[in-house]
Subunit: 737 residues, 2 copies
C-alpha cells in the first residue's frame, strides 16, 4: 500500500511539463487521495506568511524547500514581495494560479482561520499551522483554536498543529517546518518515521539521530493536536511503503482508542513502534498536562494499553535512538539466545549481566565447539561469554574462528562482539574487519552488534558489512533486548476484544446500595453467596437455618462506610439462635453509632473460610475508557500495589494471563502447603466483570468487588462484597469511545 | 597526607645533579617510604625483559616513559642490547648501578620468581608483573604463582599482578604499563584515581574517559591480585593528596574486611568512590569467577556491605563515567532539591520523570519568583520545570533571568538546564553562554548540569565556566542523583560495629537438635516461649496445666524435616487432658511415619496467636564473613524475596533500619486495623542474633530463627523455632577475618 508517493520522479515529470495544467490534471485524477497524503506528500504548497529572511519562521520552510530541491510547486504568499528566496511570490492566496495541496501557515493566530478558508477554496485538503497563541496560552487562545477547527472542518481540511514545528518528508524534499534541524544539513536517507509531540525535543532527537547515522525520512511535530494527532500519523506511517520503523515521542494521549487502532495498523504491517512517553512521575505528569493542554490520563493505564502491540516503550532518549537504530538496520532476532564474543573477560561478564536484566539467555556453546576452540586457543574461554582474550592480537584468525563457531552452531539468535578500540588501530583494524566479515558470512538474518571505539568512517564500514555498532556494551545489549521483545510481540497476535456478551442491564445513574450492586453483578455473571436480607430476629434465625451455619451477618446501609469499626458486622455465627441474637446486637450497634442512618436490613450469608481473596475494580480512564484492575487482597494490593490492568474487556484466557502477571500469583497457583485456587472460575469472573464495565462505559465512576474469594480448584469464586459508584450526570467519564 | 610525591620537580632535582649517588642518598633518607609509594611513585624503575620494539609488551613501558618524560631512572634489562629506546640497557639486574625502587617484569612466567629475588637484592620494594601463565591458566600456573609470592614475601616485595596490564601515575610520567591506551596520547590532567581488575576493560574505560574529558592521574590494573588487590589500592588512593575521586571496576572481591577498611579510609578522607562491580547475574558471576579465579561471593552481600560508605555502585560504564566526570568537576550538592530550566517543555517533563526515579525532588519555585518570571515571559512556565520556551530565541536575557531566579531563591541544591544545540549556533551560542554565566554567578557550591549538543571546544568553554556538560538529559539527571547519594553517604558516619557483647558459648562443631539450638540462642539473648520437653502423657498434661492452655505440641527430632506433613505437630490443644491425648497421637504418628527415628521427646509450648512472623537467618559469606538476613515470614520471603542483609553485627538502631527497609515494613508498623508490632523487641533480638553469628564466624553453615513472632507493641518478640547447622571440620566458612 504505497499511498504516500515516495518517488521524486513523478513530481519531476509534472513540473518538467508545462506547469499548472499538468498539476491540475494530476489533481483531478487523484481526487480520492486522502488528505493525509496531501500533508505528507503534497504536489503544491502555499506558504502563508512567507519571508525573504531564511532565518525567520516564515522564511525557513521556503529556504529548506529550495535547498532540498522540492519538485512540486511552492507558492510563497506575501503582499509586499514579488519574489521570495527565488520563488515567485503571490500577494494573496486567491491569486495563486493553480490548486494548493497543502497550506503552511505562519501568520498571527487571529488571522489563521481566514487563511485556512481561503486555501480550502483553492482545493487545499491539509494545513500546517506554525502559529502559536492558541490553547497553550489559555482561554482566549482556546476560543481562537475552536474557530480554526470549525473552519477547517467545514471545508474538510485536515490540520497539523497549531503551535507545531511542522513536518518533513525528506524523500521528496518536502520541508514544511521551521525546525532549526535542516539548517545544519539534510537528514540521512533511511526508512524511519518519527512523530513527536514536542517540536523542540523532536528537533533535539533529530540532531542526535543524524549523529547516530539513523536515516529519518518522515518527521512530524504535532503541536496542539487540534485535529491530526500522534495516533493519526502513526497510522499513516503504518501504511507508508517507504517506512519500516516508527518512532514516537509522546507527552499525552488525546484519545486512547485511536492510538490503539494506529498501533494495530503498525502491528498488521509488521512495523515495530519505538515509543517514548514522558509524564510518568507526578511532577512530570503535571508539567506534561500543562504543557500540552492534554488530558493526563494514567501512565499505568497507558502502559497496560500498549501490552499486546508491537511496541517497545523506552525511558531514555538513548534507548529510543539505540533501538530505532538497531530496528532500522537489522532484522529482528527469532529468539532471545545471545552469543557473546569478547577480547576482554571483564566486558564479557558485564554483558552477561546486562543480558540477564534484559531477558536474554546466554546459553553455553555446544561442547564440541568448545573443545575445538580450546584446541585453537588454550588460553581462551569458549563457553559463552566466548573470551578470545588478547591472544587475538597475535592471531587475528582466532576472532574469525570464535565468531564463526557462534554462528555455525545455530544455537544463537543474535550476537554481540566486544573489540574496544581495535578497529581504529591501523595495523589491526583491517584484519579484524575481514575476520568479522568472514566469521559471520551468511548470517544476515541474525543480528550482531559490535562494541567498538572508532571514528565514524570506520564505524560506517562495519555497518556496511551488516553489523550494528555501539560504543557502550550495556547499550548494545539493551538494544538487542528491545529487538527481541519487539520480535516476540510482532510475532504474536495483538489481543482482540472478546465478542460482546449478553450482560446485565445498563447501570442506573443514581446511587446504588450494596444489595443492588451485587444483584447487577450477579446478572452480569458474577457468582454470589446465597445470602438473604432480613428485617427481624426471626427472619435471621430462619435464614441461618436455611443457609447452614456458621453464617456472617452485617448491616446493609449505603450511609455506613466502615462497618467493622462500629460493630456492624458479626462473623462466625454458630447457630440459628445465635443469628437471632446477633440481629439484636447489630440493630443496637446501629442505634448507638448511627441512629439516623437509613438501613435496608441485615444481610445473612454463609461463612467462607478457604480461598484467596482477590480484588476486581473497574475505572473509567479519561483517555482509554473502562479499565479493569485485578489484585490479590490485603497486603499485596495495600502495601505492594501489586495490581494488573487491562483496557477494555478481556476473555477468560486473557484474564488468566492477568492473574499470572501478579507478583503474588504463587498464592493462587498453590505453594508450600497451600492448595491451588480455582483459576478458571476466577478468570471467568474477571471476564464477566470487564465485559460489564465495558458495556457501561461512561456510566460509572468505579465498580469494585472486594473480595472475590477464589476457592480451591473446583469450588469456584464468589464475590463477598461489591460497590458501584455510578457516574452522576455532571460527572466525568463522558469522553469514551 | 601527601605520601605519594606528586611533584615532578623533586625527581628532576635528583636527576639534574649527578646521578646515582644523589638517588642513593634519597633512598637512604626515605627508608620508611611504604612499598606502595615505590609502586605508585618510584624514583627508579628496572624493566626486566625490556624490548627495543615500542609495540612489544617489554617495549611499551620504555616507550611511554620516554614519551611522558619520566624524571626518575629507567633501567632496561636485556642481555642482548647496550641501549634500548634511548636508555642505557643492562645485561642483568645485578649490573644496575643504583638501587631499584620498582621492578617491572615482562619475561616468561617460569623466570619471574628469580627476577623478583634479584630486584629485591637491589632494594626493590615493589614489582609489577605483566607476565601471564599463572593461576589464570590452571593448576601448574597456580604452583608458579605461589612460588612468586613466596619469594616476594621473603624479601618484603609487594606485587602487582601477575597477569596485569600494570599502572600509570600520569602526574610524574610513570607508565609501568603495556596498555595500548597511552599510544593514542597521554591522559588528561585531573584528580581521578581509577583501579580496575580487568586490564582490557580498564583500557576501554580510559579511552572513553579521555573522550569525556575526565582527567585520570593514577590508573592501576590489578590482574591476578596475588598480593596487592583493589582494596589496597583504594586505600592508597584514599591517602593520596592529589586524588579527589576514586573510581573502581571490580569483578570479584578477595577479602571483604580489607575492602571495607579501604572504603572506610576513603570515607574518612571524604573522597567519593564510584564503583562498578560486574557478576550480578548467574552467567556473569560464573564467568567472573572463572575469569579472575576469585571467590564469587554473593552479589547481594557485596551490595549490603557497601551500604554505609561513601560509595555509589553503578551498573553501566556510562554511569560510571558520568558520575566520575561530575564528581571530579563539581561539588557534591547539599541536598536533593533540583531546579530544572529548559527551552523545551518536553525535555522538562522528561527530566522531571528521571528526577523522581533518581530520588531527586523537583519542588515548585517560590510564588513571588513565579510571578516575576511570568511578568517577564508570559508564554513561559515558571513553576519547575521552569520552561523559558523558544521565547528565549527572541530575548536571550530570559535565560539569565530564569536561571538566576532558580539560584537566588536558595530553594535548590542543584540544577539542570536544557539548551539543545543552541550553544553551537554561532549567532546564539556566545549570548547564551554569557546569560548562563551571569545567571549563575556566585553559585559555585551548587552544581548545574547543562544538556547541550556542541562540539568539544564549545562544551569545554562551558566546563571552564563551572558547568557540567551532558548530551542526554536522562544521563545528566542520573549523574546529579548519584552526586546527591554520594553527598548523603559521605555526610553520614559509616556504620561502626557495635561493641562486642557477652554472648552464648561458642557453637560446638557437631549436629545440634532444635532444643539445643534454642538453648544456645536463648543464652545469646533471644526470648523463647516457656516450653517444656516431655516424655510421657502425664508429663504433657502437667506441662499444659503449668503453661496454660491452649498449647502447641510437636515431636522434637533432628531426623524429621517436614513435621507438619507427617502429623508431628498439634496446635491449639485446649486442655491438660487433651494434651495427654495429643501425646499419644503424636507418638502414634511418629511410629507410623518414621518408626526408626531418634526422638528427644515432645515439646509443649503456649500458643501465640498474635504478632507478625519474622525470619532471622545468618550465613557465612565466603568474602565478607557472617551476614544477617531479616525478612517477614510467609509470602514476603517465599514469594517476594523481600529480605534485608547486613554484614557483621548490628546494634538495635541498625536493626530498626533493617526492618524499615523491608517492603512489608507496613505490616510491622501497623496499618488499617493491624496493631503496631514491638519493633524495639524485634530490633533487640536481631542485634543479639547478629552478635551471636559474628562471635561464631566460621563455626556455622547457617543459623535460622523461623519464626520470630513480633507481638504487638509492649509484648515482646519470641522465637518459636530455630535451627543451627554448625560448620563441619571439612566444611566452608574458614576464610573469615
Amino acid at each position: 500500500v504505497k499511498w504516500i508517493s515516495g518517488e521524486r520522479g513523478c513530481h519531476r515529470a509534472g513540473v518538467s511539463n508545462s506547469g499548472s495544467v499538468m498539476m491540475r490534471a494530476d489533481w483531478t485524477e487523484e481526487r480520492s487521495r486522502p488528505a493525509i497524503a496531501h500533508l505528507l506528500a503534497p504536489r503544491s504548497v502555499a506558504i502563508v506568511g512567507a519571508s525573504s529572511d531564511p532565518r525567520r519562521i516564515g522564511g525557513r520552510p521556503v529556504h529548506y524547500y529550495r535547498q532540498a530541491g522540492f519538485a512540486g510547486r511552492i507558492y510563497p504568499i506575501n503582499p509586499n514581495r514579488d519574489e521570495i528566496q527565488g520563488y515567485q511570490a503571490y500577494p494573496t492566496i486567491e491569486s495563486v494560479p493553480g490548486p494548493i495541496d497543502l497550506a503552511v501557515i505562519a501568520i498571527p493566530a487571529a488571522q489563521v482561520a481566514a487563511a485556512i478558508e481561503q486555501c480550502a477554496r483553492k482545493s487545499a485538503k491539509a494545513a500546517v499551522v506554525f502559529s502559536a497563541g492558541f490553547a497553550e496560552i489559555g482561554p482566549q487562545g482556546t476560543v481562537l483554536q475552536r474557530e480554526v477547527l470549525a473552519v477547517a472542518s467545514r471545508y474538510g481540511v485536515r490540520l497539523l498543529g497549531p503551535n507545531c514545528l511542522g513536518l518533513f518528508n525528506a524523500r521528496i524534499g518536502h520541508f514544511a517546518t521551521f525546525s532549526s534541524f535542516p539548517e545544519s544539513g539534510l537528514p540521512l536517507p533511511g526508512r524511519v518515521g518519527l512523530v513527536t509531540q514536542s517540536g523542540a525535543y523532536g528537533t533535539h532527537v533529530l540532531m542526535q539521530a543524524r549523529a547516530r547515522r539513523i536515516g529519518v525520512n518522515i518527521w512530524v511535530s504535532t503541536g496542539n493536536e487540534v485535529d491530526l494527532d500522534v495516533a493519526t500519523l502513526i497510522e499513516a506511517l503504518a501504511g507508508d511503503a517507504d517506512t519500516d520503523v516508527i518512532a514516537c515521542y509522546l507527552e499525552g494521549v488525546r484519545h486512547g482508542p485511536t492510538l490503539l487502532r494506529a498501533l494495530g495498523a503498525a502491528h498488521a504491517a509488521r512495523k515495530p513502534v519505538i515509543l517514548m512517553k514522558v509524564g510518568r512521575s507526578a511532577v512530570g505528569a503535571e508539567a506534561a498536562a500543562s504543557h500540552t493542554a492534554s488530558l493526563a490520563g494514567s501512565d499505568a493505564v497507558f502502559e497496560a494499553a500498549l501490552g499486546s502491540y508491537g511496541v517497545e516503550r523506552v525511558e531514555t532518549t538513548e534507548r529510543f535512538l539505540d533501538l530505532t537504530y538497531a530496528a532500522s538496520r537489522a532484522r529482528l532476532p527469532r529468539g532471545n539466545r545471545l552469543g557473546i564474543v569478547t577480547i576482554s573477560g571483564g566486558a564479557g561478564v558485564l554483558m552477561a549481566d546486562v543480558a540477564e536484566a534484559e531477558g536474554l539467555e546466554v546459553p553455553p556453546m555446544p561442547i564440541a565447539a568448545q573443545r575445538r576452540l580450546l584446541a585453537a586457543n588454550p588460553l581462551g574461554s569458549p563457553r559463552n561469554p566466548v573470551d578470545v582474550t588478547g591472544q587475538a592480537l597475535n592471531n587475528i584468525d582466532l576472532v574469525r574462528q570464535h565468531v564463526a563457531a557462534v554462528f555455525e552452531d545455530a544455537t544463537y539468535d543474535c550476537a554481540v562482539g566486544f573489540f574496544t578500540a581495535w578497529p581504529a588501530v591501523s595495523t589491526l583494524g583491517p584484519k579484524l574487519q575481514s575476520a568479522l566479515r568472514e566469521g559471520t558470512q551468511g548470517r544476515a538474518e541474525r543480528p550482531m552488534a559490535l562494541v567498538i571505539l572508532a571514528p565514524p568512517d570506520i564505524a560506517q564500514a562495519y555497518e556496511a558489512d551488516g553489523f550494528l555498532v555501539f560504543e557502550d556494551p550495556s547499550r548494545a545489549i539493551a538494544a538487542l533486548g528491545g529487538m527481541v521483545r519487539l520480535s516476540v510481540r510482532l510475532n504474536a497476535q495483538p489481543r482482540r476484544p472478546p465478542p460482546a456478551r449478553a450482560t446485565a442491564p445498563l447501570l442506573p445513574q443514581r446511587p446504588l446500595s450494596e444489595v443492588e450492586a451485587k444483584l447487577l453483578l450477579s446478572r452480569a455473571g458474577i457468582n454470589l453467596l446465597p445470602e438473604r436480607l432480613v428485617g427481624s430476629a426471626e427472619a435471621a434465625r430462619d435464614a441461618a437455618a436455611a443457609l447452614g451455619c456458621p453464617v456472617a451477618m452485617k448491616i446493609v446501609s449505603s450511609e455506613i462506610a466502615h462497618k467493622t469499626e462500629i460493630g456492624a458486622v458479626v462473623l462466625d455465627v454458630a447457630s440459628p439462635d445465635a443469628a437471632a441474637a446477633a440481629f439484636g446486637q447489630l440493630i443496637a450497634a446501629l442505634a448507638r453509632a448511627a441512629p439516623h442512618a437509613q438501613t435496608e436490613g441485615i444481610l445473612v450469608s454463609p461463612m467462607v473460610k478457604d480461598g484467596v481473596e482477590v480484588i476486581l475494580a473497574a475505572k473509567n480512564d479519561g483517555v482509554f475508557g473502562p479499565v479493569t484492575m485485578v489484585g490479590i487482597g490485603g497486603i499485596f494490593v495495600e502495601i505492594l500495589k501489586d495490581v494488573v490492568l487491562r483496557v477494555g474487556a478481556v476473555d477468560a484466557d486473557e484474564a488468566q494471563r492477568m492473574l499470572k502477571e501478579l507478583k503474588g500469583y504463587a498464592l493462587l497457583a498453590g505453594t508450600r502447603g497451600r492448595p491451588a485456587a480455582d483459576l478458571d472460575a476466577a478468570a471467568e469472573a474477571i471476564a464477566a466483570f470487564s465485559a460489564y464495565a465495558l458495556a457501561n462505559a461512561g456510566r460509572f465512576e468505579s465498580i469494585e468487588i472486594n473480595p472475590l474469594v477464589v476457592r480451591p480448584r473446583g469450588h469456584g469464586a464468589v464475590a463477598l462484597d461489591a460497590w458501584i459508584v455510578p457516574a452522576m450526570p455532571a460527572g466525568g467519564g463522558s469522553n469514551q469511545a
